[in-house]
Amino acid sequence: MKFYYFSEQGYYPVWDEIQGPLRTDPGSKLAEPAVAHRLLNRCIDEWTLADQLGMNIMVNEHHASYTCMSVSCMLTLSILARVTKNARLLALGVPLFNRPDPYRVAEEAAYVDTMSGGRLELGLVKGAGYELPISNQNPVRNMDRFWEAHDLLLKAFTSHDGPVSWESENYQYRNINVIPRCFQQPHPPIWMPTFSGNNAREIARRGYTMATFTTGYGSKGVFDAYRETFAQTHGRAAPPERIAYLGMVAVAKDEKTARERGARVASYAHATERTPPAKLNPPGYMSVADNARLLPNQGAISFFYNKTLPDGRKMSNPPTIDEFVQAGMLFCGTPDQVAEQIMRFSTAMGGVGNMIVQMGGMLEDEENRDSLYLFGSEVVPRLKELHLSAAAE
């Protein structure tokens, strides 16, 4: 099992102060430049510590958001490419259908891969529905645009004999020529996250690494769909390292402190649920059938709430810390407890080769560092023992 440390780089000091949404709508005046400076640098320090602890690194991006100040995966990774030594650098990911210029995505990824000496793991994500009004890209036919941008990236990565062109309804280029080209040839490993079995099958067919985010024990169907299609397509079992899971994590030496930390990490989940409902799901972002089903509920969708627990009960609204833990969305406790929770989850999922460890939220600097240090120095060695069978069910 490999481990990636992740933080959203949130501007959390005003989460309680701001009434209502923390994304897309609140003005920037509450973000004090000096505080943002301190918080962003703190995140770089945490990733540097993760590197020293032998862990890997994941970054993401959002826009117009108090929950995530990273506005470009590759901006953050270009710093980390220089200040870390060994960690794999996972962008998960670049929101491809929100980016009007995929050629630029290819250039920046190749830059980070070269700067880091070939440590980039390139995650390609659709993009958040609530960020379509920010990018101004049309919500309708978003997956067509996603896959076309993906094809264009691969063409940009693999064309080395001079400029190539691309002319389609979505993209126009006359001079695609990425210099420097990728350090890893033909291109860095590609990852894609998903919440659906259909997408999981498509990712498996292409042999990419698949991740699910905070979907807990409900992820089993998606993992199974991936493994089944991978085996059918490639004639061998999907290696566990092709499967990744992102969970929130809080570790402390004693259980009481760990639970306090867990609540502060999980504050991220509550913060994201405050996204303006009108912008979460612009028409065309989801299918007509899904939107018809959602209309009686005003089109509202939820990422962290309304899940069913493994014992069949519905979560409270909002969920409790215990429910987040039972659901497999939060791993929280002493190093022994967290290792045991992750081991149980991975086994139930049939073997998760990559565990993405999300901290941050409203954790203060010192407790975040301590939680990360305990994970890297005490949880990781316990989990390294875990035998992952590639043929696991």
Binding site: N136, V140, R141
Partner: protein, 266 residues
């Protein structure tokens, strides 16, 4: 009831009702359903032809349709295939935009133009939105923007049957496809409106909160031969909110003797 006919290779859902001069009704972004009372009234004076646009209702959406131009050329093909002449072209909101996009291309089969609270043109400065963003709203937030008498038009989606929900969702998606960005307008349309050599009636809801009356005045002032009529106690959709007044205006305007079109562009 709507029938299915083949037009330009597409299966098109179309209401055709009444007799008299041909009137092509182009529905607003919420689909043809809400226009049924207006269609019924107009059918007493006209041969009303009211299709669902490609992507809306039960009409096909070809994969290569993505712009308002695609719809405008489709409707010019429809006029040809149905061999309609001296057509009164009547469009509401998004349908008004579509009507103007047709008329700048060809008015050969048209006699008159009626625009009700039409979107589609940019008059204001680059940092002022002329037209409200109808795509950043929850379903419950839409009626307060569309109507003067909001309470009359609130929808309880928990009581709407599933096939109707699917139509609403499909209409919303198609509306978004054609008008997401630039939001509900075509940057080139204003400079081309001089080509609309048709007597034009611009109808405007006095309390339109999507595109206000100043915009309606600017539109009427830009079209070569347009008069403006303001409908009181009315929001963005006169054909829905003030059906009788809307139909009266259309009948009075289009029922008059057809004037010579010569000289309009001079």
């Amino acid at each position: 009831m709507a029938d299915k006919i083949q037009i330009a290779g597409l299966s098109v859902e179309m209401v055709r009702k009444g007799s008299g001069p041909a009137l092509l009704f182009l529905h607003s972004g919420d689909g043809v359903e809400a226009a049924q009372p207006a269609i019924d009234l107009l059918s007493k004076s006209f041969d009303v032809i009211a299709p669902s646009h490609p992507g809306f209702g039960g009409t096909d959406l070809p994969a290569n349709f993505s712009t308002i131009d695609d719809l405008a050329y489709f409707y010019l093909d429809l006029l040809d295939e149905l061999d309609l002449t001296d057509v009164v072209l009547c469009g509401a909101s998004f349908g008004g935009w579509l009507a103007m996009e047709m008329a700048i291309k060809s008015t050969a089969r048209l006699s008159r133009l009626v625009l009700a609270d039409a979107v589609g043109v940019k008059f204001g400065s680059r940092d002022t939105r002329d037209i409200a963003d109808l795509f950043a709203l929850t379903p419950a937030e839409i009626p307060p923007l569309l109507f003067h008498d909001v309470a009359r038009f609130a929808v309880d989606y928990t009581k709407v049957p599933e096939p109707q929900l699917a139509r609403i969702a499909r209409n919303r998606e198609a509306f978004t496809l054609f008008s997401w960005s630039p939001t509900l307008y075509d940057p080139k349309l204003r400079q081309r409106l001089h080509r609309v050599d048709l007597p034009t009636l611009v109808l405007w809801g006095a309390n339109d909160r999507v595109v206000n009356l100043d915009y309606g005045r600017a539109l009427a002032g830009t079209l070569p031969s347009a008069s403006l009529e303001v409908i009181p106690s009315c929001g963005h959709l006169p054909h829905v909110e003030q059906v009788a007044t809307f139909a009266d205006h259309v009948v009075r305007f289009a029922g008059a003797a057809t004037p010579s079109r010569k000289g309009i562009r001079a």
